[in-house]
Subunit: 350 residues, 2 copies
């Protein structure tokens, strides 16, 4: 199983290991490095070792969004230098979105760019980070503020890695899949709204990757259509950033934050772009069944709104939203007043 576009090549299932071994055999790499974090080193690297037929050196980073930071890149650039990496080296990133985003950035910038391959091990990274060539790191509280767009040579999706993925991480990835339904296919949203388990998820990952690949191949540089992938992300990112920097709050996973963002932006869609209010309620009900509720006091809402102006989707200082005209039909570049944003939090809390 394979999804190939000009900008992505994602290979699914057991075949993917053969494809990886074949790729390495036919490319004359001087050295191969595998980047894992403290989680994937324990849970995924042993699986990786069983499948690959080539030698490699290991690189490590601590697990967690808080390490998606330039200092981690500096360590890895230095590790690569010390281990004699050159322009013909290959970097394989084995992990969730933090590892694939950061590892991709390290590869794209080391000696002005070496080949890299991503093996996403979380559901989120499989359905989201696997396509589109976005690499990046956070800058303080600002998510993905620094990065480049560059396609990995190959992306491998093996759902066996999901067996050791914590439940909340699974739900986090699931939010992006629900998003694919909301922005493109009402029937897909219906299918996913019963919350499918890991044992049934492979064909849907394939479907989600297909949705994203199609959108990205039509607009790789996010001049227009690709923006629809940001549904739920304008407020979702701001919420995620706020919880990341707050000294007193537990952080939210990316999908948990954008799940809230989709409920909020569903309400905004009902207010501004004609989404039937019933559908906004239905979106709220589906997410409410899967994701734990989060409470927002007035101060938090104010801080989330102030975070918005730093979202990198902004242009000309305006905060622009993707909203829905109906389920499956998004519109982008929508302005929203702060007043209405506050009301959306009331809708979420009600």
């Amino acid at each position: 199983m394979k999804i190939q576009t000009k900008h992505s090549e994602v290979i699914f299932g057991a075949d993917s290991w053969n494809a990886l071994n074949a790729w390495v055999t036919t490319h004359d790499y001087s050295t191969i490095f595998v980047l894992a974090d403290t989680n994937t080193q324990t849970h995924c690297l042993p699986v990786f070792k069983q499948h690959v037929t080539f030698k490699f050196a290991e690189l490590h980073m601590p697990a967690g969004e808080e390490y998606k930071h330039i200092t981690t890149c500096v360590s890895l650039w230095e590790n690569l230098s010390e281990l004699g990496a050159d322009r013909k080296s290959l970097l394989i990133n084995l992990g969730g979105g933090v590892v694939t985003d950061l590892g991709g950035f390290v590869a794209c910038t080391f000696k002005r760019g070496i080949d890299f391959i991503n093996i996403p091990t979380s559901l989120l990274a499989m359905v989201d980070a696997s396509v589109g060539g976005k690499t990046g790191i956070d800058l303080g509280p600002l998510k993905n503020q620094v990065g480049v767009i560059e396609k990995p040579k190959m992306v491998l999706v093996d759902t066996n890695f999901l067996a050791t993925l914590p439940e909340n991480e699974y739900r986090s990835g699931y939010a992006e899949m629900l998003k694919h339904g909301l922005i493109q296919e009402p029937a897909y949203f219906d299918t996913l709204s019963s919350f499918l388990g890991k044992e049934d998820i492979l064909p849907h990952i394939y479907h989600s990757v297909g949705v994203k690949a199609k959108v990205v191949s039509e607009d790789p540089y996010e001049h227009g259509l690709r923006k629809i992938l940001n549904f739920g992300h304008t407020l979702g990112h701001a919420i995620e950033s706020h919880f990341l920097v707050s000294p007193t709050k537990n952080r939210l996973l990316h999908g948990e934050a954008i799940a809230i963002g989709m409920v909020l932006e569903g309400f905004l869609s009902a207010e501004l772009t004609g989404l039937p209010l019933d559908d906004a309620h239905r979106i709220k009900a589906v997410f409410g069944k899967i994701y734990p509720p989060v409470s927002f006091d007035d101060n938090t809402i104010t801080e989330v709104i102030s975070m918005l102006t730093h979202d990198k989707k902004n242009e000309h200082g305006n905060v622009l939203f993707v909203l829905l005209e109906k389920i499956g039909k998004p519109v982008w570049n929508q302005s929203v007043s702060n007043e209405l944003i506050r009301k959306s939090f009331e809708f979420y809390a009600a």
Copy 2:
């Protein structure tokens, strides 16, 4: 006057300011930033201000190769964030190669890439960094170890900036021009060997940019031909890096280091690839007339050789050189023994 290829657009002389103002007028930038270092802020920014018709915000960095470092990038990314830069912002880099290389890297990676324009103010940056889209920073002592390849939207060359350029900086840039003669045009090398002054240099800058643009457009990603631009740079970079980290030695300017590199690699060419020994002596004489001599003790030579293995032009752990079959006819991917490298230093010192 203009040199345009798929990968570069360089505009020369007074016209260039009109072109810049026109570019800004026809592009709907949200904000424009100008990056200068402590030198160009004093000497070049006032000139810049006289010519431009648009508003901009200033960004600053300290002057010097030692600030071509990731911490400077982090400051600038943070400055851009604080000042509300978004994806539709423009960054104009006003300075020597450190400013254009580092500023280019900052622009290419900020929010996954914003537009940038380079205004090189040193001779070196005019003839070298102006073409080819290399951006980058150093990693400790390893020069340009981190970066990307991305073309600026425009490069402006106004030789009026040379008036305030120190003499040693002028000589540094001149070394790259001599290199263009050595790798492509014997007659051009002859013309330059009398060491032309600032007042006569404009047409030769144009000529040099043309030589480089032609090479780069034939091989933008340095798979083959573009490597010839590294003549003198394999040993030159290692020497430059060594002097940069040495606590007791004064640093060498880039061109001063590659001038030595060209003399050394001229000797290696005579030993290995058929350059007449007379020509190796002639190269030595021309550079000896323009550049101050540098002495190398045995320890220094050993350390320079150990630096070589980190040069990013390496592939598969081999240190590869560009050598000359004759003046104007280079060959690349040449291996050289450490023994012969030591002998080249004896040739240089003799």
